[in-house]
């Protein structure tokens, strides 16, 4: 087990040879509170430019992991590397801290400041100089759509606005790695959508983003890779494509104007249609289909040839939530 004791650069290269290949690389990262291990020997690798979604039930250790990556929490053991540089929780690496942006789930703010002064303060903390500082504060205000609130006291903002202001604070210093912990929790659907759009813009700007959320549909839309945590362990870490390829089943929704029993009888002739379920309130079946697109076309042709009045036939894929539940985890959506 590697500890957070200081090591020389040469030792570091020997111990963690591939650390510089990733935007985030952790080695045996562990956090123990009393007799409870919140994060247990996690080896996480996230490539530059990825949007990495972290999912898992409450208490799985997601927040603790993100806090350690943001240097807000001291690991009990293990090492963290950000773009190949060792992250330590002291004054020793100001340049590395300059590259990190962290948005916690509770986003505390200074209510005695106005929006502009708040962002200006953080821009100064991150050593942005004029005139770049003023330009950058304007840019992030525009991005989070708070330009018209720049002179308002923070205490007068709505929850959604405060959340967006926190995101603006997180990115004002142009970090290359964003750590977002439950960024949309408690937001209404419109605020959530606005937030998602901002994340997409940041992703296009080339930021590496690690985001934890219980809203799996959002993660499915935003992420390139996903990690699943449970009881402190990282039990799954793969690209979203890989996850779908391995675990998502193809489904075909078939609706008929005739009797469903006739459709079921015909489906029994196809071995690739393994099982089906009736969709409640509709004259439709959801069919588990393991064939290729050509074979699904064959199925449609056969059903029509058999004289069944088919009025809907479309292929779908299991969503992230279904995959997650299938893996035996209980994820709140």
């Amino acid at each position: 087990m590697k500890t957070s004791l200081p090591v020389t650069q040469r030792d570091q290269h020997l111990l963690y040879p591939d650390a510089d290949q990733y935007a985030i690389a952790t080695y045996g990262l562990t956090k123990q509170f009393e007799r409870y291990i919140a994060v247990n020997e996690i080896d996480l690798q996230v490539k530059a430019g990825e949007v990495y979604g972290l999912i898992g039930p409450n208490g799985a250790g997601k927040t603790t992991l993100i806090r350690m990556l943001a240097a807000a929490e001291e690991p009990t053991t293990g090492a963290i590397f950000i773009n190949g540089e060792r992250l330590l929780r002291d004054d020793s690496n100001p340049k590395l801290k300059q590259r990190l942006g962290y948005l916690p789930d509770d986003y505390p703010l200074y209510h005695d400041l106005n929006v502009w002064d708040y962002l200006d303060y953080f821009a100064r903390l991150y050593r942005l100089r004029q005139p770049h500082r003023r330009r950058r504060v304007y840019e992030v205000l525009e991005l989070v759509q708070l330009t018209n609130k720049k002179d308002s006291l923070i205490s007068t903002l709505s929850r959604g606005m405060k959340q967006r202001l926190s995101l603006a604070r997180t990115i004002v210093h142009e970090p290359i790695l964003l750590l977002l912990d439950e960024p949309v929790s408690g937001l209404d659907p419109i605020a959530r959508m606005q937030f998602r759009e901002i994340i997409k813009v940041l992703q296009e700007a080339g930021m590496t983003i690690l985001i934890s959320s219980h809203v799996l549909s959002d993660l499915a839309e935003l992420c390139t890779s996903v990690g699943i945590m449970e009881m402190g362990f990282l039990v799954e870490s793969a690209s979203l494509k890989e996850l779908y390829r391995r675990l998502a089943r193809q489904q075909i929704v078939i609706s008929t104007l005739g009797a469903l029993d006739d459709l079921k009888t015909e489906l029994r002739n196809f071995s690739l249609a393994r099982e089906w379920e009736t969709l409640p309130g509709q004259n439709s079946l959801r069919v588990e289909f393991s064939g290729s697109p050509d074979e699904s076309a064959e199925l449609l042709k056969a059903l029509v040839t058999a004289g069944l009045p088919i009025n809907e036939f479309h292929c779908t894929q299991e969503d992230l939530e279904s995959i997650f539940l299938k893996l035996g985890h209980k994820q709140a959506s």
Binding site: M1, T3, L5, Q32, E34, R35, I37, N40, E41, A70, A71, A72, E74, T76, T77, R89, D90, D91, P94, K95, K97, Q98, L100, Y102, P104, D106, P108, L109, Y110, D112, L113, D117, D120, Y121, F122, R124, L125, Y126, R127, R129, Q130, R169, E230, M231, G232, F233, V235
Partner: protein
């Protein structure tokens, strides 16, 4: 214009920018400026009434010779200067410490300080920004009074550089007390305790200032024993520079020496010495702040730092002690014992400051091979148990008492009066007292290793109990008895008070029994640490086995 100034200041220190933006609002500035101005005006009018041209009025500033009234303007200015200085001391320090502790407590409660911690700014930059910015309105009020204060100092005939020196002492005292306030604000208290903390810090500062000021007014000396406490009170320096110009304020002058220097007459040296002393302690508190800012669970100082702190304290305090050399009569022996009590209390403070918490010892125990080997780890590694380090600190501190005792036995007495037996008994009692320090450190450490969630409170209660409750129990148990149990007193911090009455058998008994107690506690500590390491490994294994998720 205000915004432009704050903007420029903010380029130098962003934290100062944030604090000034929050504190300096035009309305607040006008109100504080008005209060400051009115107070100065009132003070001036009160003093002006003392030198009225009305022949009916007499005062200490007016002398009348052959019907001609002469006003002693230097004396009058000196008293205004001193009064204003007291305003500065008694407002700036307690209110400033209150404001800073309250500010950090609020940040800790809301969790906002975490973002600042994550920024690339250094801990000291942030805390200097807080120190300069949080009491900004207070500074503003005194900045308005500064020309008034300075002018009356010069008017009193005090040389320019001494007035300036005193202003610097005031600044240094603020930095010193505010560093402590920040450190207290960073301590990991529960939220309900935090709300009362600022009041407590302000009150303790005020009590210290009043108590020491009373001593400065009355005689100005604790017979050399607690003189080090004067060094942190700006009133001590004020007395030095204004005793001649304000003889009615500082009527009686006691002599305070440091090694061979008489500090009461060497004003210039005292100002420099005071500034150096403040700088030294501000430096040590800055080190603690740097450590605690990023991790509130870290010991205040590393073990190596604690040795330097003990040595600093010992060297400074020994200077005061040696300037009041006692010989071995009964009264002087009590002074020697009081010296030892002072060092003992410092050692107790260091036990609390450097003892690592359970989780740190756990890490040290689990990864033992990655730390220094053998004794070196116990002496230097900060996650290792602090018992040996406290023993070394105790030895450094008690070296001061040993030097003092030997000097007291030798220097002021004729060869025929030298009492080697008494000196020997003193040194033996000192060794027993040192063993008690190590014993308390061992018990404190083992209580910190306890499983209970309240172990930090438990450990501090244990320490306070051993230091204060045991002597109190002995005192009350034998309060009506003529026979004081000398042996029992050897097990308390007051061992040196028994020097004349205690016999050799009792000393040996105390020595052996305390050594055995340390041996027993050490074995217990050793086993606890081994169990800690083993239990962590067990937790890991159990968790892995129960989930079956990862080997």
């Amino acid at each position: 214009m205000l915004d432009a100034i704050i903007d420029r200041v903010g380029d130098w220190n962003p934290q100062l920018f944030r604090e000034l933006k929050g504190q300096l609002k035009p309305r607040g500035l006008i109100i504080v400026g008005f209060i400051s101005f009115v107070l100065q005006l009132l003070l001036y009018l009160i003093f002006a009434s003392q030198v009225s041209k009305d022949p009916q009025i007499s005062s200490i500033y007016i002398t009348s010779e052959n019907g001609v009234r002469t006003v002693n303007w230097a004396l009058w200015s000196g008293d205004i200067f001193v009064t204003l200085s007291f305003f500065a001391i008694f407002i700036l320090l307690p209110i400033g410490t209150y404001l800073l502790t309250a500010n950090l407590a609020k940040e800790a409660r809301k969790g906002t300080l975490n973002f600042v911690r994550m920024s690339p700014q250094s801990a000291l930059d942030i805390l200097i920004g807080k120190m300069l910015g949080v009491p900004a309105l207070l500074y503003w009020g005194f900045a308005i009074a500064f020309p008034f204060h300075f002018a009356f100092g010069i008017g009193a005939g005090i040389p320019f550089y001494r007035v300036l020196g005193f202003e610097l002492i005031l600044v240094a005292a603020c930095a010193f007390f505010y560093s402590i306030a920040l450190l207290v604000g960073l301590l990991p208290f529960e939220n309900n305790t935090r709300s009362s903390l600022p009041w407590l810090v302000g009150l303790i500062t005020l009590i210290y200032l009043i108590f020491i000021q009373g001593s400065i007014f009355s005689n100005g000396s604790f017979e050399g024993v607690f003189n080090i406490l004067y060094l942190f009170h700006p009133g001590f320096y004020l007395k030095s520079i204004a005793a001649n110009t304000s003889p009615f304020m500082f009527s009686r002058t006691g002599q305070i020496g440091w090694y061979t220097i008489d500090l009461t007459t060497a004003s210039n040296f005292l100002l420099l010495f005071g500034l150096a002393n403040f700088t030294l302690w501000i430096y040590w508190f800055a080190q603690a702040l740097k450590r605690r800012f990023h991790d509130v669970r870290k010991p205040l100082w590393s073990k190596s730092q604690s040795y330097c702190i003990s040595a600093s304290f010992m060297v400074i305090n020994l200077g005061f002690a040696l300037s009041h050399l006692p010989d071995y009569n009964r009264h002087r022996l009590q002074l020697l014992a009081l010296q030892q009590i002072l060092y003992f209390l410092v050692a107790m403070g260091l036990i609390i400051a450097i003892s690592p918490l359970r989780e740190q010892v756990q890490i040290w125990s689990l990864h033992r091979p990655q730390y220094r080997r053998g004794m070196a780890s116990l002496i230097f590694d900060e996650k290792s148990p602090a018992v040996l380090a406290v023993g070394i600190n105790g030895a450094i501190l008690y070296a001061g008492v040993v030097v003092y005792a030997i000097a007291a036995a030798w220097l002021p007495t004729s060869p025929s009066d030298r009492n080697l037996f008494l000196l020997g008994t003193t040194l033996a009692c000192l060794v027993i007292s040192w063993i008690l320090i190590v014993l308390i450190a061992s018990v404190y450490q083992i209580l910190l290793l306890n499983k209970s969630r309240r172990r930090a409170v438990l450990a501090k209660s244990g320490l306070l109990g051993m230091v204060f409750l045991v002597p109190l129990a002995i005192f009350f148990a034998f309060i009506s008895s003529d026979l004081q149990p000398m042996l029992a007193w050897l097990f308390t911090p007051f061992a040196l008070f028994t020097v004349r009455e205690v016999n050799l058998v009792e000393i040996i008994f105390a020595f052996v029994s305390q050594s055995l107690a340390i041996a027993a506690v050490t074995i217990n500590t050793h086993n606890s640490i081994r169990r800690l390491g083993a239990s962590e490994a067990q937790v890991l294994l159990n968790q892995n086995a129960s989930t079956g998720l990862k080997p």
